[in-house]
């Protein structure tokens, strides 16, 4: 009898294992192939692509497509390459991430350690900012930006991203600080620590993980945003995603696929880098923030 059970165990094991491997192979192809094609083809001369060697290794390695995408490719009507738009995105994403993270941390602190009457209702309202379809705010927002005189500028985009990033940054910090022992805060209060002292010396030193999560989340979202960029920042102030789309659509004559690919990798570069460097913390913090128990 023991032989029979063992036999079944092995057989199920083998079937499951084969299934797993086949499945993962298909999965890996599905998830990896597009990436591979992109990287390989950004390093080929155009003739090599159009003559039908899409998936093959480059015979003639070249970084010309990268240089072209960076500084000479046609974006819309100007042959500027993606460089100015890359800087636009940097100029937009760094302040927006910094401001929304600082404000989110303070909001989270107030909402958990200085409870007041309507705090849960207020927090619920803030969560609306996370989930609201941005289409509904586009046209009134355009009017507000126009009245503030920052329509079509990077400053305007920063403002928009800070406002709509606040929901998520507050959510992250609130969840994180909710688990932080309130007794410590009370003890510090009794010892005479003020509002800022408590935040600065007690909460902030242990906020490392959630700051990483918040920064990565905001960075990816803001960097990858297309809707706000396309609606509020036209022409020279456009961020990278909009410029990439223009690069692909504005090629007159022959479409330079290799340049497009190089541009796409450039646009994805900063976020990929962030994921590679800090991805592990991000996954850990994301789980702590969005799934509890």
């Amino acid at each position: 009898m023991s032989v029979a059970t063992q036999d079944t165990a092995i057989r199920t094991g083998r079937v499951t294992r084969t299934f797993i491997y086949v499945f993962l192979l298909v999965f890996a192809l599905f998830y990896l192939l597009p990436f591979l094609v992109m990287v390989l083809n950004s390093l080929k001369p155009l003739e090599e692509i159009t003559s039908g060697n899409m998936i093959a290794l480059p015979q003639d390695w070249t970084i010309a497509p990268w240089l072209s995408a960076w500084s000479t490719a046609q974006i819309g009507v100007e042959p500027t390459g993606l460089r100015p738009y890359f800087w636009n995105s940097i100029k937009m994403v760094v302040p927006a991430v910094a401001i929304s993270t600082v404000l989110g941390a303070l909001n989270g602190y107030v909402l958990t350690k200085w409870r007041f009457r309507f705090d849960t209702i207020l927090f619920g309202l803030m969560l609306f900012a996370c989930f609201i379809p941005f289409q509904i705010v586009l046209i009134p927002m355009a009017r507000i930006l126009g009245e503030l005189g920052i329509a079509g500028t990077t400053t305007g985009l920063i403002l928009v991203h800070v406002v709509y990033g606040l929901g998520f940054s507050t959510l992250y910090f609130r969840n994180y600080y909710a688990a932080f022992p309130t007794e410590l805060v009370r003890a510090a209060q009794i010892d005479g620590a003020g509002f800022f002292q408590i935040f600065w010396r007690i909460l902030l030193p242990s906020s490392g993980p959630i700051i990483v999560v918040c920064v990565i989340w905001q960075f990816t979202n803001i960097w990858n945003d297309f809707l706000f960029g396309a609606s509020f920042a036209s022409g020279g102030a456009a961020p990278m995603t909009v410029a990439l789309n223009n690069l692909v659509n504005s090629s007159t004559g022959v479409a330079e696929y290799n340049v497009h690919f190089a541009g796409a990798i450039m646009a994805a570069g900063p976020t990929l880098l962030v994921y590679i460097v800090a991805g592990r913390y991000f996954v850990r913090g994301l789980m702590a923030g969005s799934v509890k128990g």
């Binding site: 207020l122 928009v160 909710a178």
Partner: protein, 325 residues
């Protein structure tokens, strides 16, 4: 290098401005309005502490009022006016939408997206979470599946343009078809099914998100329940579907609804892949057709999106708040 300096200045002004506001508002409250000295010291401290949270939340509340409440109300009001915005036409824009064939197509397509994308992404995420957890090099597989998350929708669309390209020398699908001896075709022009080809892109992006969250939930399942099932003779499929899945049901729902809300916002993919041609329009991209051309119609579409999202949104918000208690 001026962009860097500009960026730094913006940060200093932005962050510094916020901190300065907080600091001085706090100082004024403690020293001027309710000073903690004299005969009313105790009462003043209590009062100051009751007022304090509002001071600190004021910027956020102000921002929310200006950028959330006003736009929603403003959008709705705008949708009741005509194209130029100078004549009140009641629900005229909505009537025009309902009568429009394009709107019905977009609405129907949107329903397809909402049904299939969250379902497929959650299912594939669950499957890959379970399978990669059992392998030694599962973590590598995980990071590969997670990678599309880092790419913008525009970048992802660009990649998939090449998968779908009609020229068999460029498009992967048609290269495979050519190898099998079939004629090249444009997948994005096949009626009805082209919607699904576009959905695949979003599923490709979102599976990683689902996988990461669900994999964490799977690890949180108590070992004993699985061991008990093994002793009772359950096979791997039964263990997975009858023991594990029921225990992480609430997490599955969170992932599902989060992706649902996202699906209702995404316009980038359709916008960049087909521009809404060949009957692939969905509501968010349909709205962009009218943006800044006929704001009355555009806001009407936006409001339809808003109303469609609302139930899922409220469920989601209640869920994220319930988890915190």
């Amino acid at each position: 290098m001026s962009p860097i300096i500009q960026g730094i200045i913006t940060i200093i002004i932005g962050v510094g401005g916020c901190v300065a506001y907080f600091y001085f508002a706090n100082l004024v409250l403690d020293k001027v309005i309710f000073p903690a000295r004299g005969e009313k010291a105790g009462r003043n401290i209590n009062r100051a502490n009751a007022v304090r949270p509002w001071i600190f939340l004021f910027p956020a509340m102000f921002a929310l009022g200006l950028y959330l409440v006003y736009p929603v109300v403003g959008s709705f009001m705008r949708s009741l006016y005509n194209r130029a915005g100078d004549e009140f036409i009641g629900f005229g824009n909505y009537a025009q939408l309902l009568a429009s064939e394009d709107f019905r197509v977009a609405f129907f397509n949107n329903i397809l997206w909402v049904i299939f994308v969250p379902a497929a992404a959650t299912f594939l995420g669950l499957l890959s979470a379970q399978l990669t957890d059992r392998l030694k090099w599962g973590n590598i597989a995980k990071s590969l599946i997670f990678m599309p998350m880092a790419i913008s929708f525009v970048g992802a669309s660009l990649i998939w343009k090449f998968v779908y390209a009609q020229d068999p020398d460029i498009g992967i699908i048609n290269a495979i078809r050519a190898a099998l001896g079939a004629d090249p075709l444009d997948p994005l022009q096949i009626p009805f099914w082209n919607n699904f080809f576009l959905m695949v892109i979003l599923i490709w992006i979102q599976t990683g998100f689902a996988m990461v969250i669900l994999s964490a939930a799977l690890r949180g399942i108590p070992e004993e329940t699985v061991e008990a099932a093994i002793i009772d003779g359950a096979n791997p499929f039964q263990i997975f579907f009858k023991i594990k899945v029921p225990q992480i049901k609430s997490t599955i729902m969170v992932v599902w609804t989060t992706i649902t809300v996202l699906v209702l916002k995404v316009f980038d993919i359709v916008y960049t892949m087909t521009g809404g041609n060949f009957d692939t329009e969905i509501l968010p991209s349909y709205m962009m057709d009218f943006m800044f051309r006929d704001d009355g119609l555009a806001t009407a579409v936006a409001f339809v999106i808003m109303v469609t999202v609302l139930p899922v949104m409220i469920w989601n918000i209640r869920q994220s708040r319930a988890e915190m208690r």
